[in-house]
């Protein structure tokens, strides 16, 4: 078990900055950081593969976690930093046996993903719907999404139900 822990404790050197991914199977917690640079986006895929080894979570739930993280973090990277070359995005994950709890903090421009998007189920592919597709998918997959902008930071929290057909005890 100790060996498994240390395998998942990794220090990664990226573009002269230290970022990390750290998972602990005893506490079911996992953290990683990304820079503002879209080249860091593959950190999400690496995190998902680490979690696959650490937690007893279905492939479907990991797919949904991957999608939600990609949509939110790529959106921040593309539109959130506006010339700030030192942007940081911090992701904290934990698993309680049913829900994956997600917390994302960044120092990007204020952006509230809980704000309404076109959530219609009409089949027309209008511009508004496709532009907001990533955020709409995020809203449909996640539960209890809460946003605040505090001390120049976006702070987003939500959870993903890994067993939607099982009642939580």
């Amino acid at each position: 078990m100790a060996q498994k822990y240390f395998i998942n404790l990794r220090i990664i050197l990226l573009t002269n900055n230290y970022f990390f991914r750290m998972g602990n199977p005893h506490t079911n917690k996992y953290q990683f950081k990304l820079s503002h640079d879209v080249k860091d986006i593959d950190q999400i895929e690496h995190a998902i593969e680490d979690i696959r080894k650490l937690w007893d979570v279905s492939d479907k739930s990991l797919f949904q976690l991957n999608l939600v993280l990609e949509e939110l973090i790529s959106n921040t990277m593309f539109y959130g930093f506006d010339g700030n070359k030192n942007g940081i995005i911090e992701v904290d994950l934990s698993f309680d046996g049913q829900h994956i709890h997600v917390s994302i903090h960044d120092d990007a421009l204020p952006f509230d993903p809980t704000a309404a998007v076109d959530d219609s189920t009409e089949t027309e592919l209008d511009e508004r719907k496709i532009g907001g597709l990533g955020i709409m998918l995020t809203q449909r997959i996640s539960e209890d999404m809460q946003y605040e902008y505090h001390e120049n930071k976006n702070k987003l929290r939500f959870k993903i139900n890994t067993q939607p057909n099982v009642e939580h005890k």
Binding site: I41, L67, S74
Partner: protein
């Protein structure tokens, strides 16, 4: 990683995809699809048999094709991928099918009309 195999069949251009169609790789497929459109291709069949993951960056490519008045059909075997198209209410507009034969019918039917 995204694996793409492209071949021309009589009625359509067939793209077999494997791996991940995400923000890091969507531009690879987009470039190939744009080339086919520029060459005059209007029927596109995508086989997701080996595709593990897709995000909105991949889905936008298929929507772009529809806006260019191309006929699109996609074979989706993965339940997780299928569910994403369901959430986006895109099953009908993008002719999402669960098997290859049903997808091919889209083009044989469109040729008859």
């Amino acid at each position: 990683m995204l694996n793409i195999s492209k071949q021309h069949i009589q009625e359509f251009e067939l793209f077999e995809l494997g791996g991940r169609l995400d923000v890091a790789h969507a531009n690879e497929l987009d470039a190939l699809v744009s080339d086919s459109l520029a060459d005059g291709c209007r029927n596109f069949l995508f086989d997701f048999n080996s595709l593990d993951y897709i995000s909105s960056y991949g889905i936008r490519i298929f929507v772009k094709l529809m806006r260019a008045e191309a006929v699109v059909s996609i074979v989706v075997t993965s339940d997780s991928v299928y569910e994403i198209f369901e959430m986006g209410a895109l099953i009908e507009p993008l002719n999402i099918k669960r098997d290859l034969i049903e997808s091919i019918k889209i083009f044989t039917q469109s040729n008859k009309t």
